[in-house]
């Protein structure tokens, strides 16, 4: 299993600013993911955070808007840049501690972002 913490837990930000969300895991993991959950909608994968290399972004998400860092096997950050009200969402960090795609993903508590 894995215990994941995220900071901040919530924030209210002004349009045009940026927010960096931190994800800390209590053990070393290979696979870390960042998701977005917009109000009333399901989870959408933003990117896979790769240790030592650039993140792998899903269709519709770009590095300039959502830069990601992964300096080691227990930590990652997601920045939401040049925010607009459409970025208001819950952002979730998750990890897969196993080596198989059928292994459980563990989730952080999420960061609730409101952009005014």
């Amino acid at each position: 299993s894995a215990v994941i913490s995220q900071k901040p837990s919530r924030d209210i930000c002004q349009r045009g600013t940026s927010l960096t969300i931190q994800c800390q895991v209590d053990s070393q993991v290979t696979m870390m993911f960042w998701y977005r959950q917009q109000p009333g909608q399901s989870l959408t994968l933003i990117a896979t955070a790769n240790q030592g290399s650039e993140a792998t972004y899903e269709s519709g998400f770009v590095i300039d808007k959502f830069p990601i860092s992964r300096p080691n096997l227990t930590f990652s950050t997601l920045t939401v840049s040049n925010m607009s009200p459409e970025d208001s969402s819950i952002y979730l960090c998750s990890v897969n501690t196993g080596r198989q795609a059928y292994n459980e993903q563990f989730f952080g508590p999420g960061t609730r972002l409101t952009v005014l």
């Binding site: 399901s42 989870l43 994968l45 993903q105 989730f107």
Partner: protein, 113 residues
């Protein structure tokens, strides 16, 4: 592209009622299937999963799900719900070798005491 559909966005039941939440996916290949649950104020957590073998899988808290390949379905069941089952339930799918999960929209379940 893969997609996952959950038939009901909101379900309200009384305690002791039986539960079945529908989940269908669209993908022709071999998949892994998951049900996750999010209790109020808590993290998403795994309820159960199927990746091979017996298509009837049992999870935590008395939940089970049946994988019916011909129907592309993975419905979640519980014979008798409790008030503490109030939560949001998500069905998710990935290809056998791909970590990326595709998620359903979720079903909010409310159990009346």
């Amino acid at each position: 592209a893969q997609s996952v559909s959950q038939h009901n966005h909101h379900v309200i039941l009384s305690e002791a009622a039986s539960l079945e939440l529908g989940c269908n996916y669209s993908y022709g290949g071999t998949v892994n299937l998951f049900w996750y649950v999010q209790y109020p104020g808590q993290h998403l957590q795994l309820l159960l999963k199927y990746f091979s073998g017996d298509p009837l899988v049992k999870g935590i808290k008395g939940f089970e799900a049946e994988f019916i390949k011909s129907k592309f379905s993975f419905n979640l069941r519980k014979p008798s719900v409790q008030w503490s089952d109030t939560a949001e339930y998500f069905c998710a799918v990935n290809e056998v070798s791909n970590y990326q999960l595709i998620w359903g929209a979720g079903t909010k379940l409310i159990i009346k005491p």
